[in-house]
């Protein structure tokens, strides 16, 4: 198993003010598999992703990657195993650094050498070229920035790629390009993928198995095919399915609106 999560809990605050962003999350992803986490804001899906990435030091429970249990602090070698592509293509690149600088940093940190060749190869892999190499993020389009983010994630040759809503901030036409790129890279490099999104269609396109999260917990584990057939048990999942089809004139549960807690 490439990714194993056992009873992962992430909470903030103590006592009466304790808030569980993620509670008792357990799942397993096989090597080479693409697993999706779907849910709305506040569902805990991004928190789980960040716990897998090792960005949350106070996460409880067990996170094991490629057979190795991860401790509170990750070693440099462990950092090479898993990388992430973030949601906001502008926010995930340093505004004052050229593409070249952004891609060179991981190489320098891990002392991989051959920086020039690696950077060129990484750019080519994501469909960009030398003309983009010395540009700043604000000189690139959203889709191009996301490609750079993907290049940066892959330059360390990780086994596991985490995707945090990678296409939510992109136009439909650009989203298709990025999804195709991710599909191709997954096939070519044999990556294990854990992807988070609120969009069922996007998740079902890339992932085979899917977990639905609501308020910090996994409420149902299903497959893309089952979702497509509407073969789901949990009422929340059913509601998600209805909403994903567009405007649902039946309105859903109006009561839900007023009982949504303070954001």
């Amino acid at each position: 198993m490439s990714i194993i999560l056992e009873h992962v809990t992430v909470s903030y605050g103590r006592g009466a003010k304790r808030f569980d962003a993620a509670r008792n999350v357990s799942l397993a992803v096989a090597e080479g598999e693409a697993y999706g986490l779907v849910g709305e804001s506040g569902s805990g899906k991004s928190t789980v992703l960040r716990a897998v990435a090792g960005l949350i030091a106070h996460a409880e429970g067990r996170v094991a990657l490629a057979g190795q249990t991860m401790g509170r602090r990750r070693t440099t070698a462990q950092r090479k195993t898993v990388q992430m592509v973030f949601q906001d293509p502008y926010g995930s690149l340093h505004p004052n650094q050229t593409v070249d600088q952004t891609l060179s940093m991981p190489i320098a940190i891990h002392k991989l050498g051959n920086a020039d060749r690696r950077v060129s190869a990484a750019l080519e892999e994501v469909g960009m070229g030398p003309t983009h190499r010395f540009r700043y993020p604000h000189q690139l389009s959203g889709g191009q920035r996301q490609r750079i983010a993907i290049a940066r994630a892959l330059i360390l040759e990780p086994r596991i790629l985490l995707l945090d809503e990678p296409t939510s901030a992109l136009d439909v036409s650009v989203q298709a390009e990025i999804l195709n790129l991710l599909s191709r890279l997954r096939r070519d490099l044999g990556l294990t993928i854990l992807m988070v999104s609120h969009d069922l269609a996007v998740i079902a396109h890339l992932c085979e198995r899917i977990a639905v999260m609501n308020r910090g917990e996994i409420v149902e584990e299903t497959t893309a095919d089952a979702l497509a057939a509407g073969d789901v048990k949990n009422p929340y999942t059913q509601q998600l399915l209805r909403s994903n089809k567009g405007f649902d004139p039946s309105g859903g549960e109006l009561d839900l609106l007023d009982s949504v807690p303070i954001r």
Partner: protein, 298 residues
């Protein structure tokens, strides 16, 4: 000129240097459109030019030698700005005074910015007790009115320009620490910082390569706006006899000694005062222009 411009504005640079210079050039083009900012820049450049070229234009001797027969002369061809109470040429003194002002400005900047960053960055980045301790130290310094604290330091250290610089620097750094801390805290949870952590970057690397470049613009802008205050504090110290010592032609000291003859020989005190005013104004306008460009209002 066209080829240079074309090279700098090339949308597909082929080297890091080209990209960086291109970025600076574009910022310059944006700044150029700000008239007041350009006026400020002109004044500051004028100050620097005069300070550097002083010994070439005026004879240092005229600035320092006392010629009592010539004292308190009004404007003339020999002495375009007149002479002071000891017969020294005021224009020459003002030009050499510019050197002193510039020295103070540069030295204070070189001290204040590193201290401010060194205290503010870790406070914002690490938070917790590090933040608490560093900020309390900052608060202590901030609790005293700046001029009075500078006076106290200057009095304790003794008169002289170097001590004046130290005194001013010691009172000027707290706002920069606060600024650096605020900027760091804002950026701390940015996704590119998370990406750097994810890659295994050490704290030092993140602070130095990712956060410092983001803090510098606001710190520099703040510095230019503070210049006026620094110059005035230096002039104030000089006025009170705690900064530059006679016969040094520091502008504040000149205003101070010129007070005695203000009514009949107004130029002795007023002209250095105007110099202080124009210089402060220049830095203010420059700072405003930089801030407008940085915040995109152009």
């Amino acid at each position: 000129m066209t080829t240079w411009r074309g090279w700098l504005l090339n949308p597909a640079p082929t080297s890091r240097r080209q990209a960086q210079l291109g970025g600076w050039f574009r910022a310059w083009l944006a700044f150029r459109r700000n008239t007041l900012g350009m006026a400020g820049l002109f004044i500051v450049l004028l100050l620097i030019t005069i300070a550097v070229a002083a010994p070439l234009i005026a004879d240092p001797a005229t600035a320092l030698t006392q010629t009592l027969e010539d004292r308190l002369q009004p404007f003339s061809w020999a002495h375009p700005f007149g002479t002071d109470e000891l017969g020294r040429d005021i224009m020459a003194r003002m030009m050499f005074g510019a050197r002193i002002t510039l020295t103070i400005v540069i030295l204070v900047s070189l001290i204040v910015v590193p201290i401010g960053l060194a205290i503010g960055l870790p406070a914002g980045y690490f938070g917790g007790w590090i933040d608490a301790v560093l900020m309390r130290v900052t608060d202590i310094f901030l609790a005293f009115p700046r001029l009075i604290l500078a006076l106290a330091f200057a009095a304790a250290l003794g008169p002289g320009i170097e001590n004046a610089v130290i005194a001013i620097a010691l009172t000027a750094w707290p706002p920069y620490a606060r600024l650096a801390r605020a900027e760091t805290m804002t950026r701390r949870s940015s996704e590119f910082i998370q990406a750097a952590e994810l890659q295994g970057a050490s704290h030092l690397r993140i602070i130095a390569t990712q956060i410092v470049p983001l803090c510098l613009p606001s710190v520099i802008i703040r510095l230019t706006l503070d210049m006026a205050g620094i110059i005035l504090t230096a002039a104030g110290l000089g006025f009170l006899g705690l900064g530059a010592q006679p016969p040094s032609p520091e502008w504040g000291a000149m205003v101070s000694t010129g007070r005695a003859v203000l009514l009949d020989h107004w130029w002795v005190a007023t002209l250095p005062g105007i110099a202080i005013f124009i210089t402060s104004l220049g830095f203010n306008l420059l700072g405003d222009g930089l801030r407008d460009v940085a915040s995109g209002r152009g």
